[in-house]
């Protein structure tokens, strides 16, 4: 068991290393482009260029440059943004992470709850008008662009109907830290996370419905019925147990990519200072060190989430537990 854990951690380290090399090569080893000029930003003076070149070792071989860059990212954490007047990049990402984490956690809560409810109800009432209505609703949710939905939500809750009883509680755009005011934190995140959750809810409900329906055709479900289990037990205890796997793996990937900055549009629309918005700013100003830092941060989250999903998989399905590490 410990050996399996260690080998898993080793794999993760290897993957992260691979990603870092790839990211480094894309940003700094592209032939024909001088990374110094890109880091220093547009219109930098020759003195600044010289300082950057020396600091990052751009006058030395690539492996040295790579090690320098990683050292600045992970060890000394003093990678600085020249575009943004010498601001340290790593603390910036670290302070944005909790915002994104809060947003994504709320959204995940809503979309899991919503898709479970919708998926199960549609599967049980398959081919009825309720099922069709829910699936069409899901498709609409799935196809609404999140930035458009966010803007519409803002339009109604921030200006048009803000003063009616319905939306008087909505705080102004922005983020309230949990440690400062838990209620304010929840209120500031409610609408953004719901907006973010809508499309996932539609997708996941559809997936769960089809998985559940195919699981209900399994022999083991017939056995459950033959045992005398009632419909609630058969659907929720036996059927759901069989249809979780693809749902969980998809959830892990989506959750990780959202944490890694995938909630960019939502964060920008609702003015939440999270990793996504940071990436957006970095891209807008071509702030290379900041882009590098956010990409690495995202990669690490995706790798960690993948490992967690594998763990949950093994918990859910004993066959995988043995298939992976042997007996």
């Amino acid at each position: 068991m410990i050996a399996a854990l260690l080998s898993r951690i080793g794999q993760m380290a290897l993957v992260i290393f691979g990603i870092s090399v790839l990211v480094f090569c894309i940003f700094f080893a592209t032939p024909g482009a001088d990374p110094t000029a890109r880091i220093a930003g547009r219109g930098a003076s020759p003195q600044v260029m010289e300082r950057v070149r020396a600091e990052y070792g751009f006058d030395r071989p690539l492996p040295v440059q790579y090690v320098r860059m990683m050292e600045k990212l992970f060890v000394s954490r003093d990678l600085t943004s020249f575009v943004n007047h010498g601001q340290k990049v790593v603390p910036e990402v670290a302070s944005a992470a909790p915002v994104t984490l809060s947003l994504v956690l709320w959204a995940a809560f809503f979309w899991v709850m919503g898709s479970l409810g919708i998926g199960i109800v549609s599967a049980v009432l398959r081919d009825s008008w309720v099922d069709r209505f829910m699936m069409v609703l899901g498709l609409i949710g799935l196809s609404m662009p999140v930035f458009w939905l966010g803007e519409v939500v803002n339009l109604f809750t921030q200006s048009r109907w803000h003063d009616t009883w319905m939306f008087r509680w909505v705080p102004p755009l922005g983020y309230v830290p949990l440690t400062e005011n838990p209620l304010g934190w929840a209120r500031s995140l409610l609408l953004p996370s719901l907006t973010l959750a809508v499309s996932f809810m539609g997708l996941y409900a559809r997936i769960l419905r089809s998985e559940l329906l195919s699981a209900m055709g399994e022999d083991s479900i017939r056995t459950a019925r033959a045992k005398g289990a009632g419909p609630v037990r058969v659907w929720l205890w036996h059927g759901l147990r069989l249809s979780w796997l693809s749902y969980v793996s998809l959830f892990g990937l989506d959750f990780a990519q959202l944490l890694g900055g995938g909630a960019l549009l939502t964060e920008v629309v609702f003015a939440l200072p999270g990793v996504g918005r940071l990436t957006y700013q970095a891209l807008a100003t071509l702030d290379l060190p900041l882009i590098m830092a956010t990409v690495m941060y995202a990669a690490i989250f995706v790798v960690i989430a993948n490992a967690l999903v594998d763990g949950i998989y093994a918990l859910l399905d004993p066959r995988i537990r043995e298939g992976q590490y042997g007996r």
Binding site: E218, D219, S220, T223, R225, A226, K227, G228, H238, E322
Partner: protein, 317 residues
């Protein structure tokens, strides 16, 4: 016959929603302490009959009577059916590989059935599970209960399946081709188990297409063809002196153990009819060697001698 039967199926018909008829009037009885073998080729309606008794055929319309211990199961609400299922009527399925939920230990699945029908604590249920598994000849039953289905061999899994079926001491055990997926030695062990269960007073309905299995494990046999019972009676009589031409052809298709091997085994020419093109007369007439003009009217299942019935014009009185 009739009132004292454990299971009395009278003229059971089963229809698809589009009007096609899958079962054309199945009738047979199972007494307590007897094992009825239901034989026939694939598609003859053996499993459908079994599933009707379990009430596990959503979307199909059943008519006729399935009387179990004095209660008609046709049209019984699912809630009452659920109390019988697993508790008084239990079923063993063909493929023990897929019949268990792959993601939970077999002990947990047997416990579940016990606790669904009896007010027992987790620990009591598990004690009963381990005891049942031990009785089924599963080595180290306490350990086996903690294992997952894929960790057990096919034979052990089928034993666990039987243990689960017997967990609430059912009056009627339906076994749907319980040995088809197993190798021959395991098959013999499972059949011995079924015989023991019958000796303890339960009624057994064994569905199979294997005459050898019928000879080993059953006291009575019902031969089905195209949704109908064409012949039934005590197993020795039917195997030694088959009356219906279909039964005769079925038995002739078994290779003899002694004597010279035939060049070629006799086969039944043609295909069994599908529900759409089932003849209005005797269902076997198109493939029958004894076909006569009066086969155009479907013969009733008549009693030819004590306990034996056959549906064929050859034996009409």
């Amino acid at each position: 016959m009739g009132a004292d039967s454990l299971l009395d199926i009278q003229n059971l018909k089963l229809d698809l929603p589009d009007g096609r008829r899958l079962l054309e009037g199945v009738s047979f009885q199972v007494q307590a302490g007897e094992a009825l073998g239901v034989v026939g080729e694939s598609g003859s309606g053996k499993s459908l009959t079994a599933m009707s008794v379990m009430g596990l055929l959503p979307g199909l319309y059943a008519s006729g009577q399935i009387v179990f211990a004095g209660q008609n199961l046709v049209g019984l609400p699912d809630k009452s059916m659920r109390k019988l299922r697993g508790a008084r009527i239990a079923m063993i399925f063909q493929d023990p590989m897929t019949a268990f939920l792959p993601v939970r230990s077999i002990g947990a699945q047997i416990d579940e059935q016990i606790r669904l029908h009896q007010p027992r604590s987790r620990r009591e249920a598990r004690a009963r599970t381990v005891q049942l598994l031990g009785r089924m000849g599963v080595p180290d039953p306490a350990m086996a209960a903690k294992r997952y289905p894929h960790q057990l061999s096919g034979g052990l899994r089928q034993r666990a399946m039987i243990a689960m079926a017997l967990s609430c001491s059912p009056d009627l055990l339906i076994a749907d081709e319980p040995t088809t997926a197993l190798d021959v030695t395991v098959q013999a062990q499972i059949l011995t188990l079924l015989r023991e269960i019958r000796d303890e007073g339960a009624g057994v309905m064994l569905i199979t297409h294997d005459m050898g299995v019928v000879a080993q494990a059953c006291t009575h046999v019902a031969v089905m063809y195209s949704g109908l019972v064409v012949e039934r009676g005590p197993v020795r009589d039917v195997l030694d002196r088959p009356l219906h031409p279909y039964t005769q052809a079925l038995l002739a298709a078994i290779p003899p153990l002694e004597g010279p091997r035939p060049e070629q085994l006799p086969t039944i020419p043609g295909q069994p009819p599908t529900p759409e093109n089932r003849p209005s007369g005797c269902v076997f007439a198109p493939r029958c060697g004894f076909v006569r003009p009066d086969c155009g009217v479907r013969p009733a299942l008549i009693e030819t001698e004590e306990g034996r019935r056959v549906a064929c014009v050859l034996y009409a009185v």
